[in-house]
């Protein structure tokens, strides 16, 4: 194992342990308790929370902001792929030429999306007023990580810098808003539970409302 792999591995473990702390804290706090009389179906509502409720046609935050929403989806897809690739690179698993080409395309689009989101946050008054340094750093560090992933797909000799960048990302992740990689799932669960308990979700189509 090279020194840069070791650094990234240690950073990853620190990140993993930190997120595990958050995860087990939520587990320790337990599932929601509600004494009122349930009228809905929790299972289908929680499922809906992760599926139908995320449908861009049903979310104003999506259909009123399609470019931003699309950029967000592409950016998060790129992030997820980058994390998977980190492990492939770490274990020196070789990728086929065709797959590399596809990934390069995906990472280019994803990286551009990340830069676009950063520019929007910088240039829009509404977002500037809402933002703190963590918002910019989180956006930047993930985008840089994606760009470094892209470079490694082209040029393997770049890999030491790539692993150092990955280490920085892993060390920063538990400190700020990147924690939403864990809390997002808990938030969707709680929202599904809340609306499911009261039979608000899953939403019936307008045609079903008689």
């Amino acid at each position: 194992m090279t020194y840069y792999q070791l650094i990234s591995l240690i950073a990853f473990l620190i990140c993993f342990l930190s997120l595990s702390y958050h995860f087990f804290r939520l587990v320790r706090l337990g599932l929601p308790k509600d004494y009122s009389r349930k009228t809905g179906n929790l299972k289908s509502a929680v499922t809906y929370s992760f599926t139908g409720a995320m449908n861009p046609l049903k979310k104003e935050s999506a259909y009123l902001h399609l470019p931003t929403y699309t950029a967000g989806i592409l950016y998060h897809t790129g992030t997820f792929i980058s994390i998977v690739l980190f492990f492939l690179f770490f274990f020196d698993i070789k990728l086929s030429y065709a797959l590399r080409l596809i990934l390069i395309c995906v990472m280019i689009v994803s990286g551009i999306s990340g830069i676009g989101i950063f520019i929007k946050r910088t240039m829009t008054k509404k977002l500037r007023l809402l933002s703190n340094p963590d918002d910019y750093i989180s956006n930047l560090i993930v985008t840089v990580f994606q760009i470094f992933t892209l470079i490694v797909l082209f040029q393997e000799s770049f890999i030491p810098y790539y692993f150092i960048c990955a280490a920085l990302l892993f060390l920063y992740l538990p400190l700020g808003k990147l924690k939403h990689s864990l809390y997002f799932f808990a938030a969707r669960y709680h929202l599904g539970f809340y609306y499911g308990w009261r039979r608000v979700w899953p939403v019936k189509s307008n045609k079903q409302i008689k």
């Binding site: 939520l26 009122s36 935050s61 340094p133 750093i137 939403h180 938030a187 608000v200």
Partner: protein
């Protein structure tokens, strides 16, 4: 600011010692994308960035960051962590009490799934601990706790009102035995009221009494505890909310009614049906339903007969947020109106996507925010205007109040009615 560190300490404890998985989750989830802005009637009507729902969440999460996280304690500038001081308290009062109707529209459209109104309520709870609830709102809670109803109506005045309403009912149904029963035990239904009804809108009581008469229902009102509202839900003072909720709970047990039927009141329905069992930390041994569900039940079971030709004017429906988006009563009011009115048309948007009328979240009680409240009503005004309806039906007395004010200010020329009034107008007595 009141110089009381122990109060501040108590407020911080709401965050630092929270055993609430949901609160901890939502305080850690907002990514500041700002996409919630267009879901909020305050932002839509003013374009003021301070009203973006994420900014409201940020007020509380910045305190959470400061006092409960490693980063916020050691590097507060990084995450925008803030100290609890006079400046942020002023902002919290203005934005959490004065610029949020707790309509919950932003929750549904949040890109992550943050329950924004839940976080706002946690912020209101912190303000309540520190004694910063607007006096106008707190006085409504105090009236309910001290007198048994939020309008401080004396029992004699209440029974007098019911007495003449009973006379009217007898005349209307042409039956000298028709009655508005009081404090009867072992009935099927204990019916509750919004105190605005006996005080300002007695016709909605008459309407419901006529419906009960037509359905041959065995029901009663209580003279000692009939108030469906619980404004302590709005102040997020759970101790006071518990006191108010327990009174109705105890009245149900005392009168041994089978069902508690909640009058047309959005927050009252929410407060007693969904929140009260949690305030009291026990499941209720009786059924709690809204009058909307009861009316739909009467129609579907054929217990009342309606002639929709008796309601000829075009009717549109305003969905109260607490009943619909926060209570799951979505289809019943539509079923009722399609059976009771000749021409029912929807607003756009409607159902769980509806816009708040602007009167929720305690706004009607907080006169200091009246100007803002009527500004945010512009959206509902346009929705109503576009329908061309002559009547706006809504199963909520708070909404009725706000819609009447909207009608006056924006010269809509519409009538505002409760569902019971519309159903009563369409009833065919056999």
């Amino acid at each position: 600011m009141k110089d009381n560190n122990s109060q501040k300490h108590k407020a911080i404890k709401i965050l630092s010692e929270s055993k609430d998985n949901k609160l901890v989750t939502h305080l850690n989830s907002c990514v500041h994308c700002g996409l919630c802005a267009e879901s909020c009637i305050y932002y839509l009507t003013t374009k003021d960035e301070k009203f973006i729902p994420a900014r409201k969440v940020n007020l509380i999460s910045s305190l959470y960051q400061r006092y409960c996280t490693f980063t916020g304690k050691h590097f507060p500038f990084l995450t925008g962590a803030r100290n609890l001081n006079e400046e942020i308290i002023d902002e919290m009062v203005d934005q959490l009490f004065g610029a949020c109707t707790l309509c919950g529209r932003c929750n549904m459209h949040c890109s992550v799934g943050v329950d924004i109104s839940y976080v706002v309520r946690a912020g209101r709870k912190m303000l309540s601990e520190m004694g910063f609830v607007p006096a106008t709102l707190q006085s409504t809670v105090n009236a309910a706790i001290q007198t048994g109803n939020n309008m401080s109506i004396p029992v004699e005045e209440f029974t007098d009102t019911l007495s003449w309403l009973e006379e009217d009912l007898r005349d209307e149904v042409n039956d000298p035995h028709a009655s508005i029963p009081l404090n009867v035990q072992n009935t099927n239904i204990l019916y509750t009221l919004n105190p605005r009804e006996p005080k300002f809108f007695p016709l909605s009581i008459s309407a419901m009494a006529k419906i009960f008469y037509a359905a041959k229902e065995i029901w009663t009102l209580s003279t000692s505890m009939y108030d469906v509202t619980n404004y302590a839900y709005y102040t997020s003072n759970n101790n006071e909310a518990e006191v108010i909720a327990e009174r109705l709970y105890n009245e149900m047990l005392k009168l041994k009614a089978k069902r508690c039927v909640l009058a047309e009141c959005g927050h009252g329905s929410r407060a007693f049906r969904w929140e009260a069992p949690n305030y009291l930390r026990k499941s209720f041994p009786f059924e709690v339903i809204t009058s909307v569900e009861l009316l739909a039940e009467y129609i579907s079971k054929g217990r009342i007969k309606l002639d929709k030709n008796l309601n000829k004017e075009t009717i549109t429906l305003h969905d109260p947020c607490n009943l619909v988006r926060e209570g799951g009563i979505i289809e019943q009011q539509r079923y009722i109106l399609r059976n009771a009115a000749n021409n029912f048309i929807e607003m756009t948007p409607y159902g769980i996507d509806n816009f708040c009328c602007g009167g929720g979240g305690g706004q009607l009680s907080m006169s200091e925010y009246n100007e803002r409240r009527m500004k945010i009503a512009e959206i509902k005004t346009e929705q109503i205007r576009k329908t061309g309806a002559a009547i706006v039906a809504t199963p909520c007395h708070n909404c009725v109040d706000q819609l009447i004010q909207i009608d006056n200010k924006f010269k809509l020329g519409v009538k505002i009615k409760t569902l019971a009034e519309i159903v009563a107008d369409a009833i065919v007595l056999e």
